[in-house]
Structures are given as structure tokens and as C-alpha cells.
């Protein structure tokens, strides 16, 4: 029987919701009550984390094989559709809940400092709380629709927060883009739900997964379709090809938002979904392969773009896309634990990187603000040598960089290595995975390169901020550096969560998640690598990472950079990368504009206005009027003509009578 803390599991999402309501009310009526806002905003997160931690502790003692489902009320009971508003707590949800509330709490704290001067402070915290609520609903929901509530809800909050500074159109546009692109993904999610209900007769996770094996033949068309539609949802939410374009734009939001939503939590929802539905994906090898393939491709593709970005946050954004690709490679490979592991470590180091960049931007912004300069506070070409002004930030970000580059023994090394190892292992059974593995390795190389580039340009070399501005550059307050330090610590030791057996670890996360993934695991080919091969893989991974970093250090010359204002335009391949392969432009030309044109010119102005309304509706009215007019012209007033018509009538009537 679940104990007290588990019974209170509803508090985990409810607390942020309360926070949202309170902060929302404050935002509307008392926008300047910042102390109250901060207390509520951070407080509910801390409390939620506490409840979640307590629940997980209890859960760990029970460690049940089946998830605990808590039904609260009937949501949509219609005929054989029995849909309850229910939460589900299991090992997977526990991991996610902890990450969301934990990292969330840190980022909330950071935000207290980062957003302190913002007039929309209360609104910001309201949105942030709301986001956490939806995110928790997403991870705790016991059925697809409940999860979908969270799924769309986080999209909504992402929309609201990206467009937080809505009085600049570019921000509002970015938010809108995020929402609409996400909706395309949600279409996939919806259709998948329809298919699932149609075939299994339920939408509850427990029932669907229990029935899946009986209902779906392995590798059947239906289950493949379901997984592909689900994955379409994931590509939207987790910014994978082809729906990744919104994420870089999402950097228009406040930086803590980028850290929380667009790095640590929301964008990983897709990974969570695949892990959650591991049974279905295991039944659909083609679906899994698509997941892994798209993940690998996205990882590589995004990494190339990251090579040539100047905006510090955009580099991190593409890096996020790339790392998400890794995670999909992992879960697509069937290494759910590895994927989740990378999700967790990525949450730590990417949050750290984003918050670090936030710290940098905060400083830069402060400097520019002080001198009334209008230069871009996020362009790395305006930075350089910041380690002297922001030593803590620089140090912590270096830790994160090493982690993401995959340098042992930082957390990122273990998680990334596990994914690559799993892909390589599967490749022995299905050679296509060699390609994926190679792409993963190449990505690792590029990752090490561009992250080193970022660090070099930002923190090293001469400073390009400006002479006057330089004096205003300094570390932020403790509320901002504090969370950075915690995250740095987690980045350092996070690897312990799933220390591989190879190095004597217990693979804790792997075993923890086993009840969730067991069913899916059983349906996959069992492959084992010899220890030698594993060591070789580890060695090559480290070598690749080192090569990337070393190459960057050798090839790049921070000293040669000029400030963004003076920088010459990019040329050649550099321009192609800088312009992000022109994907946005291609989408614009192929989809957005044609649809707009079609809707405006064809549907509205032609079909609606001209044909339906003009020709048919008003046309028939005009025709009636015209006929009437002709008729009234015939009424000439001359009796002679009337008589003629009269006699014609006589002839017709008489003819008709005699006929």
C-alpha cells in the first residue's frame, strides 16, 4: 500500500498550479509585489521537490514492478471510452519528477536574480510555475490524454515564455512559431492516440501496454504507424528533424527559460514518451529504427550548424537539438536507460551551460545598459576574455563543456558513451546501426569542437566588449551563482547515477528503470559486447572528444575576432552553416508561403468571395434582379403589346387544353 507521501503525489503538480494561480493573480493586480512572487514561485517548487523526493524515497522502498495509479475523477467517460483524470507513479516518472522539480527549483532560484528588474516579474513566475505544473502532469499522467494535457500545456507555456518580452515582434513571432510547429507534432500524437484507442480500446498506459502484445503482431503495420505518429509528436516537442526549427528561435525567451524548458525538461518530453511507450516501440522495429535514425541525423545536422553560430545561446540551442538527437538514438536503439541517463545528465550540464550563458548575458547586458550601448549582448564576437570578469561562471561552464564533450569522468561522458555503446552493440545484429554509431561519433567530435569554440570565444582571448563597458562586467549575485554551483556539482558527479559495470559501477539507473523497460527489453535482440570492445569504444570516444577540443584550440584564434558590428559577412560553407542550411527559408518558401497564398488568394478571394459568394449567392440574387428588370422592361405600357402577349397566352392555354 502506498504510504503517506505517495498518497500526496497529487501535490507535486498541484503545488506549482497553486503557485501559478497566486502569481497569476499577483501579476494582474499586484505586479510589484516581488518578494511575495519570489517566495511563492520558488517556494512551491522547493515544496514540490520535497514531496517528490519523499515520494521517491517511499517508492524506492517498495520498488513495485507495476506502476502505482492514482485515479482522481472521471474525465471523459463515454461508452467504452473510460478516461480518468489519473496520475501514475513509477520508476520512470520518479526520475522525471525529480529532474523537473529539482532542476526546476534551481532555475527558479536563478530567475529570482536574473529577472529581478523585469517589470513582468510576477507574470514570469506565474508562467514558470504553470510550466512546471504541466511538465509534471506530462510525466505523471497515467494515460495518453492526461499526458497530452501536459504535453500541450508545456507547449503553451513555452509559447508564453518565448514571447515573454512580447513587445518585440521577433519574440512574439518565435513563440508563435514554437506553438504552431509543436502543434504539427501534436497532430501526430493525437492520431497516435486515436489509433491506440481504436486498436486497444483504452488509453491508459497500463492497459495499453498490457494489451499491446496481444493486439499488435510484432512489426505490424498498425503498431508501426502508431509509433511513427508518436514520434512525429516527439519531433515537434523535442525539436528533431524535420520540426526542429522552432527551438533556436525559442532562445528569444529569457535565458532561465531556455535552461529549464528548452534544455532540461520540456524538450526531453519526446524522449520520455518513447521510453514510456517502449513496449510499442519494441513491437515496431521500423519505428525504433526511425527514431534512432532521425535522432542520429538530427544530432549530426544540428552539430554542424552549431559550428558557425555566433549567438552564444544559439550555439547552445543547436547543441541541445544535437544532444536530444543523441537521446533519441539511445531510446531508438532500445537503450532506454541510457537515453534516460543522458536525459538526466544533459539536464544538469545543459542547464548549467544555459544558466552560465545567462550569467554572461546578464553581465554583458548590464554593461551595455550602463553605457547605453545597443550592441548585441549575446554575440560571442562581443565577448572574449570574460574569465577575468566572471571567474566562477567560466569555471562552472568549463565543467559543463567537458561534460558535454564527453571527457571522463564527468557525467556526460558516461551517458553519451552508453548510447554509443548500445548503438554499436545493436549494430552487430543490425548493421544499419553502424551508420548511426558513426554519426554519433562524428557528432561527438563536432560537439567537442563547437563547445570549445564557445568557451574560447567567450572566456578567453582579448575582450571585445568595449573599453567603457568592460568596467561594468562582473559576476552576478549569489542567487544566480548558487544554482550554478549546485548544477556544476551535479554535472561532476551525475555520472554516478548509472556508473557502468565496466568501471565497476552498479548501473543504478538501469536497474531502477528495469520494471518499466522490462517488457520492451524482452522483445529486443539481446546483444552483448565483450569487455575489450567496450573498452575500445570508450577509448575511441575519449579520443574523439579530445581531438575535437584540441582541434578547436588549435584552429580557432580568439584574438583574431572582431566585434559583431565590424565583422565581415560569412562566405561559402560557413555561410551555409551560419544560415542553418537555409532550412527556415526552405520551409518558408515551400510550406508557409504557399499555404498562406493558397488560403488567401485561392480559398478566400477566389473560392469564397468570387465563386461561392459572388457567383452563387450574390450571382443568383443579381440574376433574379436582372430577370425582374427584363420583365419590367417588357411591361411597356402599350396595350398593343399586352394584347399580343395575351393572345400568345390564349394560344398556349387553348393548345394545352385541346392537346
Amino acid at each position: 500500500m502506498p504510504a503517506a507521501a505517495l498518497k500526496l503525489i497529487w501535490l507535486v503538480p498541484a503545488l506549482p498550479l497553486i503557485g501559478f494561480l497566486l502569481n497569476g493573480a499577483l501579476a494582474l493586480w499586484r505586479p510589484n509585489a516581488k518578494a511575495a512572487v519570489s517566495t511563492i514561485g520558488v517556494g512551491v517548487l522547493v515544496l514540490a521537490f520535497a514531496v517528490a523526493a519523499a515520494a521517491v524515497t517511499e517508492f524506492a522502498t517498495l520498488h513495485p514492478a507495476a506502476p502505482l495509479v492514482f485515479r482522481y475523477w472521471e474525465w471523459m467517460p463515454v461508452g467504452d471510452l473510460r478516461l480518468d483524470f489519473a496520475l501514475q507513479f513509477d520508476q520512470l516518472a520518479a526520475v522525471m519528477a525529480l529532474v523537473v522539480t529539482g532542476v526546476g527549483a534551481l532555475i527558479h532560484l536563478f530567475s529570482v536574480g536574473y529577472m529581478h528588474k523585469d517589470p513582468g516579474y510576477a507574470r514570469y513566475f506565474a508562467y514558470l510555475n504553470l510550466f512546471v505544473f504541466f511538465m509534471l502532469l506530462l510525466v505523471l499522467g497515467a494515460s495518453f490524454p492526461v499526458m497530452f494535457v501536459g504535453w500541450e500545456g508545456v507547449g503553451l507555456c513555452s509559447y508564453l515564455l518565448i514571447g515573454f518580452w512580447f513587445n518585440e515582434q521577433i519574440n512574439a513571432d518565435a513563440g508563435k512559431k514554437a506553438f504552431i510547429v509543436n502543434r504539427i507534432g501534436d497532430f501526430g500524437f493525437l492520431v497516435a492516440m486515436l489509433l491506440i484507442f481504436h486498436t486497444t480500446g483504452s488509453l491508459d498506459f497500463t492497459q495499453v501496454f498490457a494489451r499491446a502484445q496481444a493486439v499488435f503482431p510484432p512489426a505490424g503495420a498498425t503498431v508501426t504507424a502508431i509509433t511513427l505518429f508518436l514520434f512525429l509528436g516527439c519531433t515537434g516537442k523535442s525539436a528533431q528533424i524535420p520540426l526542429f526549427t522552432w527551438l533556436p528561435d525559442a532562445m528569444q525567451g529569457p535565458t532561465p527559460v531556455s535552461a529549464l524548458i528548452h534544455a532540461a525538461t520540456m524538450v526531453t518530453a519526446g524522449v520520455y514518451l518513447v521510453a514510456r511507450c517502449n513496449v510499442l516501440f519494441a513491437l515496431a522495429p521500423l519505428g525504433s529504427a526511425t527514431v534512432a535514425g532521425v535522432g542520429a541525423l538530427t544530432a549530426l545536422f544540428a552539430a554542424t550548424i552549431a559550428l558557425k553560430q555566433w549567438d552564444i545561446k544559439r550555439v547552445l540551442a543547436y547543441s541541445t537539438i544535437s544532444q536530444l538527437g543523441y537521446m533519441f538514438l539511445g531510446v531508438g536503439t532500445g537503450a532506454y536507460a541510457a537515453g534516460m541517463f543522458h536525459l538526466v545528465t544533459h539536464a544538469f550540464f545543459k542547464a548549467l551551460l544555459f544558466l552560465g550563458s545567462g550569467s554572461v548575458i546578464h553581465a554583458m547586458h548590464h554593461a551595455y545598459h550602463a553605457t547605453h550601448s545597443h550592441d548585441d549582448a549575446q554575440d560571442m564576437r562581443n565577448m572574449g576574455g570574460l574569465r577575468r570578469h566572471l571567474p566562477w561562471t567560466a569555471t562552472l561552464m568549463w565543467i559543463a563543456t567537458l561534460a558535454i564533450a564527453g571527457i571522463p569522468p564527468l557525467s556526460g561522458f558516461f551517458s553519451k558513451d552508453e548510447i554509443l555503446g548500445a548503438a554499436f552493440a545493436l549494430a552487430t545484429a543490425q548493421p544499419i546501426w553502424y551508420v548511426y554509431w558513426l554519426m554519433g561519433v562524428a557528432t561527438a567530435l563536432l560537439t567537442a569542437f563547437y563547445m570549445t569554440r564557445l568557451m574560447l570565444y567567450t572566456f578567453h582571448g582579448p575582450n571585445r566588449t568595449g573599453d567603457k563597458e568592460r568596467e561594468h562586467l562582473h559576476e552576478p549575485r549569489w542567487v544566480m551563482t548558487g544554482p550554478l554551483m549546485v548544477l556544476g556539482l551535479l554535472t561532476l558527479v551525475g555520472g554516478a547515477l548509472n556508473l557502468p559495470e565496466l568501471v565497476g559501477g552498479g548501473a543504478f539507473l538501469h536497474h531502477w528503470l528495469e520494471p518499466v523497460t522490462a517488457l520492451g527489453d524482452r522483445m529486443r535482440p539481446a546483444v552483448e559486447l565483450s569487455r575489450g570492445v567496450e573498452w575500445a569504444l570508450v577509448g575511441s570516444a575519449v579520443a574523439v572528444a579530445a581531438l575535437g577540443m584540441f582541434g578547436a584550440a588549435r584552429l580557432l584564434k580568439p584574438a583574431a575576432l572582431v566585434p559583431a558590428r565590424l565583422a565581415p559577412p560569412e562566405t561559402g560553407v560557413g555561410r551555409l552553416l551560419w544560415k542553418k542550411w537555409y532550412v527556415d527559408e526552405i520551409y518558408d518558401a515551400l510550406i508557409v508561403r504557399p499555404v498562406q497564398w493558397f488560403a488567401r488568394e485561392v480559398l478566400w478571394k477566389t473560392v469564397d468571395a468570387r465563386i461561392v459568394d459572388g457567383l452563387l449567392v450574390n450571382g443568383s440574387a443579381t440574376a433574379s434582379r436582372a430577370l425582374g428588370w427584363i420583365g419590367s422592361r417588357l411591361q411597356t405600357g402599350e396595350v398593343g403589346f399586352y394584347v399580343v402577349l395575351f393572345v400568345v397566352g390564349v394560344l398556349l392555354v387553348v393548345g394545352g387544353a385541346v392537346r
Partner: protein, 515 residues
């Protein structure tokens, strides 16, 4: 006052006098008014006096009709000149009522237009008398003479405003075409007489049945020509061309009278004729079908193109003739009942509409464009309301008697298997929304053109009463039509239906004196 009138022997003078009491009283009234007019005819008071005497005459005749109706007067035997049945009484009431409403509206109109011709009332009475004879006619000769009596009177009424060139033109057109049409009607009578040796409706029906004449050339030719004659009187397309011009040129109360009572009389006669004499002849149904379609469509379409309110009403009345023809084409008992009901509703709304037009048209009704009514609702809310109700009723909108009437016609048409005709009727009604609604639109939704745009619009107490009674009737019968429906049903059912064609032995030849 319960008297047994259930078996009047019309060959006996006493019974004949009873059966003809309304007509006789009406004649008497006409003669009295003539005397009154001959005595005094110079001042407005004389005019009014004549009017009141006329009203009294109409009232007495209506009482007599009521008396007959109340005591369920019926003739014994079949071959009479005059029918004694509910259909006649109800139709008579309608004519008398319409005449009374017209008189009431005329009081003010004649004075305003300075028409010091009290003979107006005499002619009105004669016309009404002609109508009652038409509705009661059981014989083609009575029908023809009644029709001529009515027509001659109305020709004159149309042109009674001798200062007005349009009125003279209207009278001329009406007269010339009317006489022309009478020729056809008469020829039709002759041929029907030739085919059946009789002019009595019932006997024609009997002859058709016993002799199997339903495909007889002479009879069909005669029937066709009769339809032409009636088609003219009811302004069915393509015999309608006179109507807009005549309605337009005539004094407005007369127009209202023509559009309602004259048409109603022709329809009543047509109904009785087709039912009693030609019920077994299929040929007319198709003709009436086409006439109905053409009339509805053309009337509505041309009305759509009108800017003058009066001409619009004229064309609209053509369209309504088309609706009534649908009831005729349905030809069932339900059809006749629908027809009676519709006539009542139609009369109420048309009289009221023309009364309002007459009030509006101080500078000549012909010049009142629909847009001239702009802003009437602000200045004269009740008049605007009344006119709006009339328009909605003409449109056949639920809640008004016009709707119940149209509904009844549709019921009859559908029951007679004329679904297509019913569909055409409703589509034509949709077109009619295109010209009725602008009237409402002008009154309620457009601003008043000038401060005093509607200052001169006066109906006077009598005119107000007419409009009020009409509108109240329209609304009342629109919600609670039960009693009127019952009357319509019983009166419609009282028209004898021609016997079906049988193969029994032909009757023996009759003697030369034509009994």
C-alpha cells in the same frame, strides 16, 4: 333566430327571395345610396353621408348572409341559378368585409383627393353585388353577368379620378383588355354550352360524367377559353399585363379593392366552376399548374425590380394570385379550404398595406418609392409596425395569417401530390423576401431623409381602425387560426364536386325550352 332553411326550393318565389336576400339587400342599398346621392352631392358631408349609408347597406347584407349561414341554408334540388352553400356565404362575407374596409379607407382619401363623386359608393356596391353573384353563381350566365357587373363598376372606379391622366389610362387599359378577355370567356361559355347543352355547373358536371366528355374537343376548347377569361381577371401570367398598370394608375383604395375583392371573386367563381363543372376533366389541372408557376415566378421576379411601392404591391399581388392558383391546382377539399383561408389572410394584409400606402402618398401614391419609407419606424412606430406585419404576412412568415394561409396551400398541394409545385411556391416566396424585406429595412434600418418626411402621413381614425383591425386579424389568425380554419374547411367542403365519369346511360333528351 333559428329558422329551418335547410331545403329552400328555389323555384318558389319566397324561398328564392330568402336565398337571394343578401344580394337583394345589397341592390336595395345601392339604390338607396343612389337616391341619397341624387338628393345631395355637393359637399364633403354628402360624401360622408353616402359612405355611411353604404356601410349600413353592407352591414345589412352581411347580416343577411350571416342569417343564412347560421341557419345552414341549403337549396333542395340541384339545377339552380344560385348556390346556397357555405362557400358562397363565406365568400360574400369576404367581399362585404373588403368593401366595408375599402369604404372606411375611402372616407379620408376621397376628401383628400377632392373626389366629390359620391357615385363612387354606388359603384362600389354594384361591384360588390357582382362579386357576390359570381361567388354564388351556379350557372355560367349568372357568372358572366355577375362578372360583367363587377367589371363595369370597377372600370369606372379605376378611372373615377377624372383629373388624373394615369387614372384615365388605367381605366382604359383595364376596360379594353377586360372586354377583350370577356370575349374569350364568353366564347368559352358558348362552347361549353355547345358540348353539354347546359350552363349549369352541376349539370355540366353530370353531363361530363354521363357522356364521357372529358376529352371532348368542344368542351376542352371551351374550358381553355374559360381559363383565359379567368386568368385575365385573376391576373395570371401571361394575362397579367394590365394589372400593374391598372393598379398603379387607380386611386389607391380602389387598387386595394381590385387586388383583393375583385381577384377573390374571380377566384371564388373559378373554384366553384372547376370543382363543380370540371372536376372530372383532367385537362385544366395541367394548365393551371403552368399558370401558377408562371404567375408565381414572373410576379415575384418583376416585383423584385420595382422601386415604386405601389407597383411593387401590384406585382406582389400577381405573385399571390400564383399562390392561389396553386390551391386551385391542388383542387382537393383541402385546396378549397386553403383557398378560402388564404383569401381572408391575403385580403387583410393587402387592404392594410394599400391603406397605409394611401396615407403615405399625399403627393400621389404613384411616387412613393420604397426608400421613401425610410425612418418611418422612428416617426410613426405603430404605422411602421403595421406595415411590417403586413409585409411579413405577405411574405408568409410564421406568426401571421399569411403563413397559415401559405401553409394551408402547401398542405393542399402536397396532399394532392403536387410536391414540385409546392417547392416552386416556396422558392418563389424566397424571391419575394427580396422585395418585402427592403420595405421593413427602409422603415426600421434607414435614417429618416428629412425632419418632416413623414409628417403628412395621416390615416384618420377610420383608416387607423381599418389598419388596426387588419393587423390584429393577421396576428390573431396567425396564432389562433382554428375557428377560421374550421369555417374555411366547412365552406370549402360545401362546394359540390363533380361526379366522376361513369358509363351509365345518358339522360334522355330534354325539351327545347331548355329547362
Amino acid at each position: 333566430m333559428n329558422v329551418d332553411l335547410s331545403a329552400l326550393d328555389l323555384s318558389r318565389s319566397g324561398d328564392l327571395l330568402v336565398a337571394l336576400a343578401p344580394e337583394l339587400l345589397l341592390t336595395l342599398a345601392a339604390l338607396v345610396v343612389l337616391l341619397v346621392v341624387a338628393w345631395r352631392h355637393r359637399t364633403p358631408q354628402d360624401l360622408r353621408r353616402a359612405g355611411w349609408v353604404t356601410l349600413a347597406g353592407l352591414g345589412v347584407a352581411a347580416l343577411a348572409t350571416w342569417f343564412l349561414w347560421w341557419n345552414v341554408a341549403r337549396a333542395s334540388g340541384i339545377a339552380a341559378m344560385i348556390a346556397v352553400d357555405d362557400f358562397r356565404f363565406v365568400a360574400d362575407w369576404l367581399f362585404l368585409g373588403t368593401a366595408a374596409l375599402t369604404v372606411l379607407v375611402s372616407f379620408r382619401y376621397l376628401e383628400r383627393e377632392e373626389l366629390w363623386a359620391p357615385e363612387y359608393y354606388v359603384l362600389l356596391l354594384f361591384a360588390t353585388l357582382g362579386m357576390t353573384l359570381m361567388a354564388g353563381a351556379e350557372d355560367l350566365m349568372v357568372l358572366f353577368l355577375g362578372l360583367e357587373l363587377m367589371s363595369v363598376s370597377v372600370y369606372v372606379l379605376a378611372g373615377i379620378n377624372r383629373r388624373s391622366a394615369p387614372a384615365a389610362e388605367a381605366a382604359l387599359k383595364y376596360f379594353l383588355l377586360g372586354a377583350f378577355a370577356s370575349g374569350f370567356l364568353l366564347y368559352g361559355i358558348a362552347l361549353v354550352y355547345g358540348a353539354t347543352a347546359t350552363t349549369n355547373f352541376t349539370l355540366i358536371g353530370v353531363q361530363v360524367a354521363t357522356l364521357g366528355l372529358q376529352h371532348d374537343t368542344m368542351l376542352l376548347l371551351g374550358l381553355g377559353l374559360l381559363l383565359v377569361g379567368f386568368g385575365f381577371k385573376v391576373a395570371a401570367v401571361p394575362f397579367h399585363m394590365w394589372a400593374p398598370d391598372v393598379y398603379d394608375g387607380s386611386p389607391t383604395p380602389v387598387t386595394g379593392y381590385m387586388a383583393t375583392a375583385v381577384k377573390a371573386a374571380a377566384f371564388a367563381a373559378l373554384f366553384r366552376l372547376l370543382g363543380e363543372a370540371f372536376g372530372a376533366v383532367p385537362a385544366w389541372r395541367e394548365i393551371v399548374w403552368w399558370l401558377a408557376v408562371a404567375t408565381m415566378v414572373v410576379g415575384n421576379l418583376i416585383a423584385l425590380a420595382q422601386r415604386s411601392f405601389k407597383r411593387m404591391l401590384a406585382y406582389s399581388s400577381i405573385a399571390h394570385a400564383g399562390y392561389l392558383l396553386v390551391a386551385v391546382a391542388a383542387g382537393t377539399a383541402a385546396g378549397s379550404a386553403a383557398f378560402v383561408f388564404y383569401l381572408v389572410a391575403y385580403t387583410l394584409m393587402t387592404v392594410a398595406a394599400f391603406a397605409l400606402l394611401a396615407a403615405k402618398g399625399t403627393g400621389g401614391e404613384r411616387d412613393v418609392a420604397i426608400d421613401d419609407l425610410a425612418g418611418l419606424a422612428q416617426r410613426r412606430p405603430w404605422l411602421a409596425f403595421a406595415l411590417a406585419v403586413c409585409m411579413l404576412s405577405l411574405l408568409g412568415f410564421p406568426g401571421t395569417a399569411g403563413f397559415i394561409g401559405k401553409w394551408y396551400i402547401l398542405v393542399a398541394a402536397v396532399a394532392a401530390g403536387q410536391g414540385l409545385l409546392a417547392a416552386i411556391l416556396v422558392l418563389a416566396s424566397v424571391i419575394s423576401a427580396g422585395y418585402y424585406l427592403p420595405v421593413i429595412m427602409a422603415m426600421y434600418m434607414k435614417p429618416e431623409p428629412g425632419e418632416q418626411a413623414h409628417a403628412g402621413m395621416q390615416l384618420g381614425p377610420l383608416g387607423n381602425a381599418v389598419v388596426a383591425v387588419s393587423v390584429a386579424g393577421l396576428l390573431f389568425f396567425g396564432v389562433r387560426p382554428n375557428r377560421l380554419l374550421e369555417i374555411a374547411r366547412t365552406s370549402g367542403a360545401s362546394v359540390r364536386v363533380a361526379p366522376a365519369v361513369s358509363s351509365s346511360a345518358p339522360p334522355a333528351a330534354r325539351d327545347a325550352s331548355g329547362r
